[in-house]
Assembly symmetry: C2
Homo-oligomer: 351 residues x 2
């Protein structure tokens, strides 16, 4: 199953990341975003994503899909079989936007929400056809990071969970279906735990943001790019395995090894401290430069992992191998279509 026509509602960093992934997969996207600057912002993300895909897609790329800037949600979602909502994280806004999408989208379209934290069941009351609403929670940069957490609400049907999984996978992603809905799902729960602890560490002057970043990227970050914590700890347990590991480290749970019984007060002083240290670490690069460095690094990691596991690829590397092949297949199949498309303008001006 593939996406024929997509709609994106909201064109911020995440929304534009979705647009980029879709368009670079050769899919036409209609975008609705009331921001008068939307097309400029989306084109900036597109430029970065295009650069990354040209580097990554060693077997070719399909002809780019078109981006249409729609004037209304109704106009954007009409005829779409896949709609991704990426509007601000406020339940009242989500309700308003989702009701509008629901009223005009084809009945069998999948509606995915990019929310980082809101439970789908809390959004479903806004929809007359709530069975097709899923959370499809991506990670920035959406065009390069493969994970999408799929979360169904009380009224989501298995049919639409399965359909969502297929559609996300068809654009090179790694869908993981979360078994029970909770706020913030799984990825952001883990990120939030680490973030809270990190704020304490900076606030208490144990380390600077640069030192903390180095501690991550020279140790467990390298582990987690290829194996998650459970597989890593299984190895740490040695031949005695996971049980041994847990027996050894279980007691730490009662030791004062985190500050997580509490959260740091979020005040100007903390913001200044962290923003100042962040400038010291990174102000030498523009955000655009940092994005390019990050994207190049990610592609290098994918390519390294793609050669592992006896040439089959490992983890994100295995997925990357398949994705590159798929993008290349698109390129050859659509040779004629690409030619036809090349005569169309790449970017349709705001209607």
């Amino acid at each position: 199953m593939t996406i024929r026509k997509a709609a994106a509602i909201g064109g911020g960093v995440i929304g534009a990341g979705w647009v980029a992934r879709l368009v670079l997969n050769g899919i036409d996207v209609a975008l609705y975003d009331p921001d008068p600057e939307a097309s400029r912002k989306v084109e900036e993300v597109m430029a970065g994503a295009r650069r990354a895909y040209e580097k990554m897609a060693t077997e070719g790329l399909p002809a780019e899909g078109t981006i249409t800037y729609a004037k209304t949600i109704a106009e954007a979602v009409t005829g779409a079989d896949f709609i991704q909502e990426s509007v601000p994280e406020r339940l009242d806004i989500k309700h308003k936007v989702l009701a509008e999408i629901d009223a005009h989208a084809p009945a069998d379209a999948v509606i995915g929400s990019s929310t980082s934290g809101i439970k789908p069941s809390d959004m479903q009351p806004a929809l007359k056809r709530p069975e097709r609403l899923v959370v499809g929670h991506p990670f920035n940069p959406v065009y390069l990071l493969p994970l999408v957490e799929i979360v169904g609400g009380e009224k989501t049907t298995k049919k639409f969970i399965d359909k969502a999984r297929e559609l996300y996978a068809s654009i090179g992603m790694k869908p993981v279906v979360i078994r029970k809905e909770i706020e913030a799902f799984v990825g952001d729960r883990l990120l939030e735990a680490a973030w809270r602890e990190a704020l304490w560490l900076i606030k208490d002057g144990i380390c600077t943001v640069e030192e903390l970043d180095d501690i991550m990227r020279y140790s467990f970050g390298l582990r987690w790019a290829q194996m998650g914590m459970f597989q890593v700890y299984r190895i740490a347990g040695g031949e005695a395995g996971m049980r041994h590991f847990m027996a050894q480290f279980g007691p730490c749970l009662t030791w004062p090894w985190t500050k997580l019984m509490n959260v740091p007060e979020f005040n100007d002083e903390l913001v200044d401290l962290i923003a100042g240290q962040s400038d010291e670490q990174s102000a030498k690069w523009s955000i655009r430069e940092l994005e390019q460095i990050r994207d190049d690094n990610l592609i290098a990691i994918y390519e390294g992992l793609a050669k592992q596991n006896g040439g089959q690829g490992w983890g994100a590397g295995e997925l990357h191998k398949d994705y590159v092949k798929q993008l290349g297949k698109g390129a050859s199949i659509s040779a004629a279509a690409a030619k036809a498309r090349a005569t169309k303008p790449k970017k349709v001006a705001k209607a």
Copy 2:
């Protein structure tokens, strides 16, 4: 400054990892471990590490140092300029072992402790010369992961912190000096926070260990192999920067986004659940196979990152480039020494 003769006290997974890193850097190591199986276990780790280094060291390797199995701590540390302690995580054992090391080690030797959590100030009362004790906390696999957290106690002098930093760097590591000592330092604080949250997620049936691992390695693990969380979030803040990011996500701190106000009860049921799911995920590989997969993946990531940043390398990749060069330099400089060494037995039998 380089290490002339090293001593390792304790030859478990971590201790043997230190032995491997030292020996593969061409340094002779005297090991003390009362376990009658110590030499077999160390040789197993050595075999894995040797395999990894042969793969990684594209510019050659120095002649391997020798391993001497000492009968006493006194025998192991005599004449050593660098001693690494990796005995079990109990303060009484640390005290006993460190007192013995202290009594027999040269006065200017650096004593590093591999402890994951104990504060150096809590260990220093056991030493007559506490100024040279630092925590040098590594990450498994010690021979491949570069990070070492250096933590000084109340009585550690700057001279020895600097010396420790130089010695660890001389064997290809990335030392980060922690500014204030706290239990579990920085890396394990972050790991413990994520681990506690992960236990809740599994216990509550939100996901399985394999799903959680996939969520990590297809998203933020890929980020953190090359940039830490603060640099990543700086990018997420866009041109508005870190201040904008914090303003946007600060409020989440008061939302119920983690279970970290509490810790899950550590009982047989939880151990069974996790160990069972871990078997489903990984029992198809032996621990040895998993180690090789992990090591190959790490080397592939290093090599990918070594080509970034205009060829200068980025993060662990930049360090890798230097390390490979350094190992190769050792190989050519010590051509004569290597020949001489080749006539000595590689592994000195237990004395």
